[in-house]
Symmetry: C2
Subunit: 432 residues, 2 copies
């Protein structure tokens, strides 16, 4: 049995320095739990000369990946470089050399997760990736272990802290999108180029990882319907509130006999839904299982120490496996081939906000469009529109397919007296 575990840490940014801090500060507890100490033996950085605020010895920093991969005393590689090609290569090389890997890299895991897990299985190595989704919330583990006996039917998640922060500020402090984004950037919740966040790409990657695991299948980015928050129009959040809903950029994944559907889009969530009160930069994932019913897991979706907590818990799990000699014993091959539903098989209620000319008969003409496509309406409300003498019509449908929704949208745009379809949302999280 090994008398210590040595780690090669790739990257020393926000997460990497957090991992070093936790391993240092909690070393007594961690080595008590494992029975042996866990040490960072080498750290890969671009610039070894840079001044760093750390307890680690200066001479363990290196710019040469080979030095780490070729060190036989290193048992475990922790990849927190971020990005894709360099990180993916480093993970592959580590696994091929028989070392276990812990990664926080959602981009790599969303793009090549199953390929890398297969490589890990083939090389009798472990690959853990808890920190790739939901920062400090133990979600991967919960799906793999805690709910392992259940059949997951649906999963709804607020998995992007930046957009949730922006929407919270817009709703609760009446800020504009631009003001809220500026505040998020200032506080470090948004990157200089926030497009991956606000366009829903970041959330989509996390939904690929979660839904692949929840449904034991291979979901790819192109299987996810993605709509960012740019389609949210001024006034939409207030309108949602009037009807008892909160607008969230949510990921959703569902499975039924026809297949799966995975989406990231701004949705209306009922205010009674536990996800609707998840605010600021927090993340939460709501899981619906056949047997367990509703559960929800809430916590910080990002940040140095929260993310590092997940990485370090993965390190603990990998160490345990190494110490027991059962590393690489987990089967990751998906149980099911991935069948993505057609738009005609995806059902939901929709909220449509339509700008019309305020003329006799306009409501009749519009409701005829819904009837034509077999959609029945739950709510119809006409708001006079102050600025142009027209009106805003709110139409909330009963359950229809996404195909019906799209057909109605198209037809409305060509309907007499319709100026524009201002906005449209799917209503998520209602019992059907």
């Amino acid at each position: 049995m090994k008398n210590e575990i040595n780690i090669g840490l790739l990257g020393f940014g926000v997460v990497g320095s957090g991992v070093a801090k936790i391993l240092h500060d909690h070393q007594d507890d961690l080595s008590y739990k494992l029975g042996v100490p866990v040490k960072i033996k080498k750290v890969l950085v671009k610039d070894t000369e840079k001044e760093r605020d750390t307890e680690l010895q200066r001479d363990i920093f290196t710019a040469d990946l080979d030095e780490i991969i070729d060190d036989p005393s290193i048992d475990l590689i922790v990849e927190v470089i971020g990005g894709t090609s360099e990180a993916k290569q480093a993970i592959e090389r580590s696994l091929l050399s028989g070392k276990g890997v812990v990664t926080a890299n959602k981009d790599v895991m969303a793009e090549s997760g199953l390929e890398l897990l297969k490589l890990a299985d083939e090389n009798k190595s472990d690959l853990f990736y808890e920190a790739s989704v939901g920062g400090g919330i133990p979600l991967i583990r919960t799906l793999e272990d805690g709910l392992s006996s259940d059949r997951i039917r649906a999963l709804t998640g607020i998995v992007n802290g930046t957009t949730n922060f922006i929407l919270t500020k817009m709703k609760h402090e009446n800020k504009s999108y631009e003001e809220a984004l500026a505040e998020a950037t200032e506080l470090g919740f948004a990157e200089a180029d926030p497009s991956a966040d606000v366009d829903g790409i970041d959330a989509a990657r996390k939904m690929v990882i979660l839904s692949s695991l929840a449904f034991s299948t291979e979901v790819r980015m192109e299987d996810v319907f993605v709509r960012g928050m740019k389609d949210i129009k001024p006034g939409d959040l207030e309108l949602a509130e009037q009807f008892g809903y909160t607008v969230k950029l949510a990921g959703s994944a569902k499975k039924d006999d026809n297949g799966i559907e995975v989406a990231v889009e701004p949705v209306f969530l009922p205010n009674s839904h536990p996800l609707s009160s998840v605010n600021n930069e927090f993340n939460a994932v709501y899981v619906y299982g056949d047997a367990v019913g509703e559960t929800m897991f809430y916590g910080p979706g990002a940040g140095s120490l929260p993310t590092a907590t997940s990485v370090t818990s993965d390190i603990m799990a990998a160490c345990r496996n190494l110490l027991l000699g059962v590393n690489g014993k987990r089967l990751h091959a998906p149980q099911h081939t991935c069948k993505v539903k057609k738009d005609s098989q995806k059902f939901g209620r929709y909220f449509h906000r339509i700008s019309v000319k305020d003329k006799v008969g306009v409501l009749t003409r519009l409701s005829a469009v819904y009837s034509k496509f077999g959609a029945s309406l739950a709510t119809v409300i006409q708001h006079p529109n102050k600025h142009d003498g027209g009106a805003d019509l709110i139409m909330i449908t009963h359950e229809i397919s996404r195909q019906q929704h799209l057909d109605i949208m198209d037809e409305l745009k060509n309907t007499e007296d319709v100026i524009d379809v201002l906005s449209h949302y799917r209503i998520e999280g209602e019992l059907s």
Copy 2:
């Protein structure tokens, strides 16, 4: 390597029949994940002749525990009998015979958890108990694995569904305690004798289990301060609401350099706290860790299938260990001896509702009591009291020790013009 896992199921009540149903309905998924099938080989019941709605063969039911313990083909015992002495004996005998055990028994685990875990370690067997706390929510696992790298500082939980259901009905539907309890009983959320629930005993047992694990120490029932919901007076819930709080029967566990404190009592939770919107029979545990910050885990706290999900996930974990030959390799000895704080070391803000005679100088006399014990007040409000011409005084303190609070209570009762201290609550979940 084994080619199947055989289970001896002790008990076939609400949870036991749920476990049988999940193992039957999800068998394809479970055996895919494990690589081998998992079968219930024998079931212990009192009456083998009773008609049961189950897919299990009738001849596997037995009233003889020996038949199960002595069957060498049975690898794993699942104890869902409930109660204490019979269940504890059965667990001990199973562990001594080298079989792994999965239990849902909070009474046994709160009373003898560490003793049984030690017995498991000595006999190289596993003892899993996820279902003993929080029904379908994977809490034990989260503390053991997901947050294994962190240092837990505090844990607040709504861990009793019955009392939470009653308080929700009282708050949201203006029912009296008696009406709400009657409804809970009718819906099967409360037992015929609800005293273990409403007196806080059930929640205290769960807090013993959670805090022992979170702080890696041995917390016993006598270390927990317990106050049931009978002290909640009519009008308290409305008063709480006026000040922006919700009354919850909450478990709390905290640790600092002076030691630990564990309590179950009705508390005021700020409405902005995620636990305040956990309603009906749902449970949730809020965990505060050094590194991760705030996380929360929410789900059904009881019920046949939710609880059975946790039991079956434990079965999966035990099976994996058996198949890998690493059963009984987990160290359960607590890292720290348990040091319980004195009342003078437990700090919090307190809400006091005091009935007084409406006389000149009464407020001066009362505030002098607070000053005498060094307590400063954050809020003082006087409400005329319609029925007896007196008044209700609301005093909300800044942070004081529990000892100060108790001293003030005592002194108030002997203060001129004080009719009674109607109610008092600690305020939980505020940032200090």
